[in-house]
């Protein structure tokens, strides 16, 4: 364990996904270091979402390996990955529409006593104290995202940007080590985007690692240390955004402003 804690947090090794003849992801390798924000960029159809889906466990790879925190997780189920701290959000925000906003956060809390056999048999007494703590934690998080007044609204009635926020808060409730974000800024107003950028930076300062798919290059520039560029299922190059802007190859594949 001590040994594992020193290597990169996430290692992607020759990962592949084929859909019939389409090579959506064609043998990509990269790493995400602990406590870093890594960007994953590339033109539409480059395979970014597919790569993220494989890392998150939503799509099974056709080839290659994924290691997280020193453990090979290539065949691990999505919920099991989530439990060891590898948490994803979706490109189209997905909320539990018939639960309230607050409940959407509560549901994601790990190790809930009330979900286990003992908690179900024991009833309210078995989980009341933990539930109380979770509620105040969730309420505090709603405050930081300025959504406290929406706490008791059904999540299905929220706006697109609010749903996105709920999804990120839900991910944070899970106490992740690595958060996979697929275009979190898409569809957010500029002010909300700035707000979210600040939140993400603060989280990274607190030790959380992020792998961020984003096409808004300003955001990538501002947030990400390392950036991986993908095109047509392959990794074109990687480095700091400032270096990549100068690269001929990258400019050709992905017109950088």
């Amino acid at each position: 364990m001590a040994l594992a804690a020193t290597g990169p947090l996430l290692e992607v090794d020759h990962l592949e996904k084929h859909y019939g003849g389409v090579r959506a992801v064609d043998g990509i390798s990269f790493t995400v270091e602990r406590g870093s924000i890594t960007g994953l960029i590339g033109p539409n159809g480059a395979g970014k979402s597919t790569a993220l889906a494989m890392i998150g466990g939503f799509v099974q790879p056709s080839g290659g390996r994924i290691r997280f925190d020193g453990v090979d997780i290539t065949g691990m189920a999505m919920h099991a990955r989530a439990r060891i701290g590898l948490v994803r959000t979706f490109q189209m925000a997905r909320v539990f529409g018939n639960l309230t906003t607050l409940e959407n956060l509560l549901v994601a809390a790990p190790r809930q006593r009330g979900e286990r056999a003992a908690g179900v048999v024991g009833g309210r007494r078995a989980w009341r104290s933990q539930e109380k703590e979770l509620v105040s934690e969730a309420q505090a998080m709603l405050e930081t995202f300025s959504m406290a007044q929406k706490a008791n609204d059904l999540a299905g009635t929220l706006s697109g940007g609010q749903k996105r926020a709920v999804e990120i808060m839900r991910a944070l409730m899970m106490q992740p080590k690595l958060l996979l974000l697929d275009e979190p800024m898409a569809g957010l107003s500029p002010s909300l985007s700035r707000h979210l950028e600040d939140v993400l930076l603060k989280l990274a300062d607190g030790g959380l690692s992020l792998l961020l798919v984003e096409h808004e290059l300003e955001t990538v520039d501002k947030l990400c240390g390392k950036v991986v560029v993908m095109a047509q299922g392959k990794v074109l190059s990687e480095g700091r955004m400032s270096e990549l802007r100068l690269s001929r190859e990258v400019q050709d594949a992905y017109v950088i402003g």
Partner: protein
């Protein structure tokens, strides 16, 4: 007295229907599993109760054949019925292991239901085929008939009471919340660390136990059980109660069960005037059920009592969900 007998029958049916509706609501309304084979778990409970109370198949002149054959005391036999429902429910739940679209899964279960009826009807050795099992002992047969009837009502009431307490453990609190999250979006639920496959099987087992108990109580009361009692459309009757009452709401679906029962009784009452055919009242009941279901999905999909969620002010919910 005739009306008293009638009342007893109504109460027993209402109680057993409530148990089954609660179980199916846990599966369908709360956890989002379109179990169109739910009646099969009710049947499993009834047959299980029958063969553990009837004694060996050679008894009564051996006029009916079935597997097993024991003489367990009734509380144990009811437990066996519930266990059989849980087991069969879990087996049916296995069809849901593959991540299929919900309607596709529903159709697979519908076919399972049709299939099980076909097999049980065809195989005399299993549960006496189409004729079904008769002379299933009533646990209170040693009491005088009037007392025995009311004793049965009391037994059903006790089962309902215990059932409701158990049910609330699954539909409220963190467990209920997690199941409802899975219903709303099972992909997002597994992304949130929920083991959707395990949860579904647990729900199928618990919902199955409710159905099994319901079937066992029915078999003990009626004294007979045959494939005609559990045709695939019987599941539709329970679904109607859920859709009319309010999917996901325990109180709602209980109310829905009452509404459907009254609706059917009323519908059947004015029937003899339009036709003389004796079986027609039951046919007409099905038409009413189907129409009520479609009407609610069209006009009021949330049902009479909409599912309520707890509201938080401070740290504890200001109101319990219904």
């Amino acid at each position: 007295m005739a009306w008293e007998y009638y009342l007893v029958v109504m109460l027993v049916y209402l109680g057993t229907d409530l148990l089954a509706v609660w179980g199916l609501n846990l599966e369908f309304g709360v956890a989002g599993i379109a179990n169109l084979a739910y009646i099969v778990v009710v049947a499993a409970g009834a047959y299980a109760y029958a063969i553990v109370t009837l004694g060996p198949s050679s008894g009564n002149g051996g006029f009916q054949t079935y597997i097993g054959g024991f003489t367990l005391p009734f509380p144990l036999a009811l437990l066996v019925g519930a266990a059989a429902g849980a087991l069969v429910g879990t087996l049916i739940g296995l069809t849901g292991l593959k991540r299929l679209r919900q309607d596709y899964q529903g159709v697979a279960m519908l076919v399972v239901s049709l299939m099980v009826t076909t097999i049980v009807s065809a195989d005399i050795g299993l549960f006496n085929g189409t004729a079904g099992l008769a002379l299933i002992p009533n646990p209170f047969s040693n009491l005088d008939p009037d007392t025995a009837r009311w004793a049965y009502v009391a037994l059903v009431a006790v089962c309902c009471l215990i059932g409701f307490v158990v049910l609330r453990r699954f539909t409220t609190g963190p467990m209920g919340r997690t199941l409802r999250a899975m219903r709303d979006d099972d992909t997002a639920a597994s992304a949130a660390g929920k083991d959707v496959v395990r949860l579904r099987l647990v729900v199928q087992a618990v919902g199955g136990a409710f159905g099994g108990l319901s079937g066992a109580l029915l078999a003990g009361f009626i004294g007979g059980w045959s494939p005609s009692a559990w045709a695939y459309i019987e599941t539709l009757a329970f679904l109607s109660c859920i859709i009319v009452g309010g999917r996901g709401s325990d109180l709602g679906v209980s109310l829905g069960t009452l509404i459907i029962a009254v609706l059917l009784l009323q519908g059947v009452q004015f029937l003899p005037q339009i036709a003389s055919s004796p079986g027609l009242s039951e046919d007409f009941g099905w038409i009413i059920l189907g129409a009520a279901t479609i009407a609610f999905i069209w006009f009021r999909p949330q049902g009479v009592l909409k599912e309520r969620r707890p509201r938080y002010r401070g740290e504890s919910p200001s109101k319990l969900p219904g």
